[in-house]
Subunit: 133 residues, 2 copies
Amino acid sequence: MRYSNATNYALHTMVHLMLQPRENLVGVQELAEMQHLSPTYLSKILTKLTKAGLVESTPGAKGGYKISRTKHEISFLDVINATEGDNSLFDCSIHHEGCLIEKVMWQAEENMKSELKSKLLIDIAKEAESKQE
Amino acid sequence: MRYSNATNYALHTMVHLMLQPRENLVGVQELAEMQHLSPTYLSKILTKLTKAGLVESTPGAKGGYKISRTKHEISFLDVINATEGDNSLFDCSIHHEGCLIEKVMWQAEENMKSELKSKLLIDIAKEAESKQE
DNA sequence: GTATTAGGGATATTAGGAGTCTCTAATATC
DNA sequence: GATATTAGAGACTCCTAATATCCCTAATAC
């Protein structure tokens, strides 16, 4: 069980966008080069982020992506849900109601998600920025 | 990202074995029927559990599996590690040292594993037993 | 010896992730 | 309005890992 590469790329992309000046649009070209990805592939991932309302896109010349103005406080969990979907990590193989194993697994997953919800991308971006100076 | 079916089957199998009388051997035939699986497939999973030291196997007529005598306090994490392997859920796609994203993800994973380590199968087995009565 | 059961290896089969290509739609600039 | 540029959508290929089966071997009870 592993997080997909898409999640990995998405998180890095989001942090990069967070470090941009306000309202500055960044094209998929630049974002892809930074991570050594093909633009068409990263484009798929960015569309997911757009649909999830985490970034806003502008098509056409001089277009690109920027962090959503409406949604503040974007968390790790937000990005992960956008790329991985929000299905649960474990479902009892025997479909008997109230499976005790399932219950334990769900609790553990819930706690992890709760932690990832409390971690904000903006904090990571700021920390990365301060380290570079 | 999901836990494999193997993990699901393994957990149910372990709980079933825990409910057996001491030193009682259960064949893969019975274990497979209970979960509507093919014996050959479940056999593969049981071999992993054996190698991880969670169960003990006896080949030959009247053979089968039983919970390990030496390893007490078997946790959810023990079973998961046996079936999933112990690789991390997330590795930074750009291989830059001290990635802050990676750091956050590792912390969340660590917490989940810590919780799954504290959950013992024997408690689940006992609870299931009391519910059936 | 014979029946039974675990273990190991080889081999399909399948599902989903990873990634590319092409066409369409929207926007800026001239 | 024409053109260049950029996001979006869909079909498609490729690869890997999970899933599952089959067959042979080794060990054990009787």
